[in-house]
């Protein structure tokens, strides 16, 4: 056990070394840390409360008091974007968490047992994959109703197949290894083998998929909120803010600019980090 720990530690160290040499990935990581700090300390950073209305100062262009301007109710757009980072990060992480747990479980079972069970599970995944992701999420949330939780569930379920496929593929390459045979021969039960010996060895592709998946989930959630399914105003969700700002495109276009930039910066950071992790974790791709 100790030896195994040491082995994973040195692997981690080597991944970290190669990640640190990748300037783009580090840029992504730094932006993410800043975003996380912004979300955590939103109460201290934001100059105004996200729901503080000031109708006399509605729809103001960016100025010293309101650096991103104000919206149709005179709320400070900068503060709303800061608070919105909480929603976007939480939604991104939790919906990916849902997809990872369910998809990971299905993929691990399918890959480990193979045969009939594998067929059934993967055919079900094919059915989910036959519906474009955004549309599937839309259909799910249409039947569950709007709201933060339903949004995360909808996006989570719609992305289950990608995790199932990845975990299944890596479980299948590992399950024939000798140390798995040894564990089985010594009478360890299947659940324990999967959790203790197999899953830790599929981590690399899963980490990459999770990073890119969070970016994708944030985009999907913003898209759903934008079309009015998901998080609805007055919550300062970035997609919902854009949805409200759309009514003023012709007269107050800057209201649309900043929430969108916030989405881009977050998604871009996650994509940069994800690409960097893929290069660091997959030696085959190293140039």
């Amino acid at each position: 056990m100790n030896k195994e720990n040491k082995k994973t530690n040195s692997q981690l160290a080597s991944v970290w070394r190669s990640l640190r040499r990748n300037r783009m990935a580090m840029l992504g990581l730094v932006i993410l840390v800043l975003l996380a700090l912004m979300a955590i300390f939103a109460d201290f950073i934001a100059p105004y409360a996200y729901d503080a209305q000031d109708l006399l100062n509605a729809r103001q262009a960016p100025s010293a008091e309101h650096i991103f301007g104000t919206d149709e109710f005179g709320r400070d757009i900068f503060s709303r974007i800061i608070y919105g980072s909480r929603l976007s990060l939480v939604v991104g992480f939790i919906s990916v968490g849902i997809a990872l747990v369910l998809g990971g479980f299905l993929g691990a079972v399918a890959g480990f047992y193979g045969g009939r069970l594998d067929d059934i599970i993967m055919r079900c995944m094919d059915i989910l994959l036959a519906i474009p992701q955004v549309l599937l999420a839309i259909a799910i949330i249409a039947s569950l109703g709007n709201g933060l939780v339903n949004l995360m569930v909808a996006v989570g379920i719609a992305t289950i197949p990608s995790y199932a496929r990845i975990v299944r593929a890596s479980v299948m390459t590992i399950r024939g290894e000798e140390y798995i045979e040894a564990a089985r021969a010594s009478g360890t039960n299947d659940a324990k083998i999967i959790i203790k010996h197999i899953l830790p060895n599929c981590l690399a592709p899963v980490i990459v998929q999770v990073t890119l998946g969070i970016a994708n989930a944030i985009l999907s959630c913003a898209a759903l909120s934008f079309i009015g399914l998901g998080i609805t105003p007055p919550s300062p969700e970035w997609g919902a803010m854009l949805s409200g700002a759309r009514n003023y495109v012709l007269t107050y276009p800057y209201m649309s600019v900043f929430p969108g930039l916030a989405i881009i910066v977050t998604v871009l950071a996650l994509n940069l980090l994800g690409d960097g992790l893929r290069d660091a974790l997959d030696p085959k791709l190293k140039r």
Partner: protein, 307 residues
């Protein structure tokens, strides 16, 4: 080959059966009594009960599902819109051409621009152009389509008065939606073209071709690009699903009467048969496109049919 196609078609039917079941279940559990949605809140209990009986709402779940399925298989009947009283399939077919035109224009732009950028980038690896293309590709995959659409309206319609901000029909009205929708795919295709070109560009046979004194452009197009095609075809095929999803958002931003807007509007009006039929219709198109892509592979690479 015929056997392979047959097998794939059979499988496609099974998958679509599964999709129909999921879609039916989702809307079965959604809140609201259809009879009430059709007749409105003021309807008398007797009228409600009569309509419920007529719609078969009192039947058990599986009976309703099989009736729905029977309608689709034998009569191509996807149900009737609560809102307009027209057949769902007619509603869909009325707007579907607009979505296809939009998605097709987007993919044409994406392939032309994406492949060109990818080739230039690979040939001039690590140059300024290459770096610029890669930055573009990175940002391109991170920009939300709906925001890009809004920004294009602000720039080209509000500030420069060059293009109409919304609507559908004229060529000018198509430009912004098609570019906005195609951007993400352009970025993906550029990245994929670059990396698959780079994989073959240093192969011996390419050096041989050069050593034989062939012109550089011939070497690149004939020997490198052609052998990099398979991964590019894959991405183009995969992008189609993304495009169908993205088309919904684009249609919302630019007020285009397409399938995506029909589905979203129907959700807010609780017109469930249209939502159900629309999702099933999109899934069918998506699966057919994937099937065609797979068959294309089989043509390009005969090894695939054997496994």
């Amino acid at each position: 080959m015929l056997k392979y196609i047959g097998k794939r078609l059979l499988y496609l039917i099974l998958v679509l059966l599964g999709v129909s079941f999921i879609v039916f279940t989702l809307l079965y559990i959604s809140p609201g009594n259809p009879a009430k949605i059709i007749l409105g809140e003021a309807a008398t209990p007797e009228a409600l009960a009569a309509l419920e009986e007529q719609l078969g709402l009192n039947d058990p779940f599986l009976v309703r599902y099989f009736n729905y399925l029977k309608g689709i298989v034998f009569e191509l009947d996807l149900g009737t819109s609560y809102n307009t009283g027209r057949a769902v399939l007619d509603e869909i077919l009325a707007v579907f051409p607009n979505t296809v035109t939009l998605a097709a224009s987007a993919i044409v732009i994406a392939v032309m621009v994406g492949v060109t950028l990818g080739i230039i980038s690979a040939v001039k690896q690590y140059s300024i152009i290459d770096n610029l293309v890669m930055v573009f590709a990175l940002i391109g995959t991170s920009v939300p389509i709906f925001w890009l659409g809004i920004m294009m309206i602000v720039l080209f319609s509000v500030k420069l008065h060059l293009l109409p901000p919304s609507g559908y029909g004229t060529f000018a009205q198509m430009i912004m939606p098609a570019v906005a929708l195609g951007l993400q795919s352009t970025a993906m295709i550029a990245r994929m073209t670059r990396s698959s070109m780079l994989e073959v560009i240093r192969m011996d046979y390419v050096k041989t071709a050069r050593a034989k004194g062939q012109k550089e452009i011939v070497v690149i197009m004939k020997h490198v690009f052609r052998n990099a095609l398979i991964p590019i075809i894959t991405v183009v095929g995969l992008q189609f699903g993304q495009l169908l999803g993205g088309a919904m958002l684009t249609e919302m931003v630019f007020s285009i009467p397409g399938l995506g807007r029909l589905i979203i509007d129907s959700i807010s009006m609780r017109d469930y048969p249209v939502v159900q039929g629309g999702v099933l219709f999109v899934a069918t198109c998506f699966s057919l496109v994937n099937l065609v892509v797979d068959l294309l592979y089989a043509v390009v690479d005969p090894k695939i049919t054997k496994s």
